[in-house]
């Protein structure tokens, strides 16, 4: 079961809608609450990242027959210059505007990695590709 969501750059008002829809779908399907909790937190965090930092992109949600959740976040740039630094808790490049909305505490990537069962990230100036799975 697959669904793709378009995410717009700097659209703070609608930020989180894709995560809400994914959470709703998984609840209706009766996914184990312990897994759902991790999916919700990581998905929301990553969606907000797309809104704040990227030039826009997509979220692809996939649920396989075994109940494993696959999420991939693909944007069109500008890329993360130093992934190791970005993974450091507390490190943030969020704009003043983002911080005013309460986002950008700098815990995002690290938090997602802790939630996900597998976590991979590649980035270049053409875009960042983040994949997570949840079992």
């Amino acid at each position: 079961m697959k669904k793709v969501y378009q995410i717009e750059k700097d659209n703070y008002e609608d930020a989180g809608q894709a995560s809400r829809d994914i959470k709703m779908t998984l609840k209706t399907l009766g996914l184990d609450p312990k897994v759902l909790k991790r999916v919700s937190i990581a998905c929301y965090e990553a969606e907000i990242n797309l809104v704040i930092h990227s030039n826009g992109g997509t979220i692809t949600f996939d649920l396989d027959d075994e109940g494993t959740v696959h999420l991939s976040f693909d944007d069109v740039g500008p890329g993360i210059p130093d992934i190791t630094l970005a993974m450091t808790p507390g490190y943030s490049t969020a704009s003043k505007k983002a911080r005013e909305f309460g986002f950008g505490a700098g815990m995002g990537l690290d938090n997602m990695k802790n939630c996900a069962t597998t976590f991979t990230i590649q980035s270049s100036c053409e875009g960042t590709h983040l994949q997570m799975t949840f079992v």
Binding site: M1, G16, S19, R20, K23, T25, K27, T28, L29, G30, L31, P33, K34, L36, K37, S40, I41, Y44, E45, L63, D65, E66, G67, G102, A105, N111
Partner: protein, 391 residues
Amino acid sequence: MKHVISWLDTKCSHCIKCLKSCPTDAISIVNEQVIIDESKCIHCDVCIQCCPSRVLKVQSAHMNETLQCHEYNVALIPTSLLSDMKSYDDFQEICQAILKLGFDEVQHYSDIEGFLYKKAIQESHEKPGIWLTSFCPTINLLIEKNYPTLLDQVLPYDYPVEIAARRIRERLKDVDVGIYSLCECVGKMTLAKEPFGNENSAIDYAMTISHIFPKINKLKDHQKYPIKMNRYGVKSNVEDLFGNRSLSVVRVEGLNQTKSLLELIEFDRIQHVDLVAMYACYQGCIGGYYLWSNPFEGCYNIESMMDEYTSDNIQLDEENYRIDRQLDRQEMKSMKERMTWFAKVNDILETLPQYDCGACGFANCRSLAQSVVDGKVDIQICRVRKQGDKK
């Protein structure tokens, strides 16, 4: 458990207000019968209140026959009852009138509420993360049914009224005692063996406070029953009085606001708070449907008596108040089968207008689509779709 809210079909106008207002989409109307799905119902009072024909009712236990069944009868009174009183004397006179109904003892449980109130603040502060607490059975059911991911963040405390009943049984263990809980709201009515068959409860009978009010109003005179209410227990009952207006404790009232907050917590977006206190009713328990006054004035009434309440604390042992809130996960079909079902629901949904008009008897098009897939109803009951076919 039996059905809590029952439908009397006599004067029902089939106006669909109940199914449109239900916060959990538990109501449907099929073949002109109002059906309340007990697996979804959280025992709030929204449908009862919105029904213009007054055909949704909650049964109350009748004490006339049962009082003779026991050697000794105890009435447990809700703390929120204070909000209906103009003075503490008034309150003690009402308690005496309740005794005169035929009870041997009138008991309160504000001391237990006070203990758990302080415990919740302390425990949530000491442990990392955000904790949820509610004495409201409706809120706890809402979390269990619709926000199961948050169950492990709910402080594992039993209901004060249940703890009180167990303590009475312990104290009077050689006596055949009948325990009655007078309830200010629909949710609390479920915490008793009768009338809804909650066999795990230590309470024998639940009665609405409004049900006995005409009788106690007649029995009330200047005699007072000596009863000391606990200040912290009182605070735990009123949304405005819970906590000390600090960011570490957040209060929320009403089902819609509570749902919004729970959504945020599910996404881990509430980060500077230790404890969330939740109430289904406006202003907390003093907004209970069966109180005869109103929470708008009630809040001031209860606060004006603050000097009368005692600050003495009781101590409870962990085994007396802690409970294990485990999610009872039913045997479910495999994920593959569930996904097939979900895909079918979505396919049917695509053929429906998705105005969520409710004319078919379901709260929204998705609920109708689910019932069609489950083989319970025919898709032809959608009037809008039928109209489109004709054109």
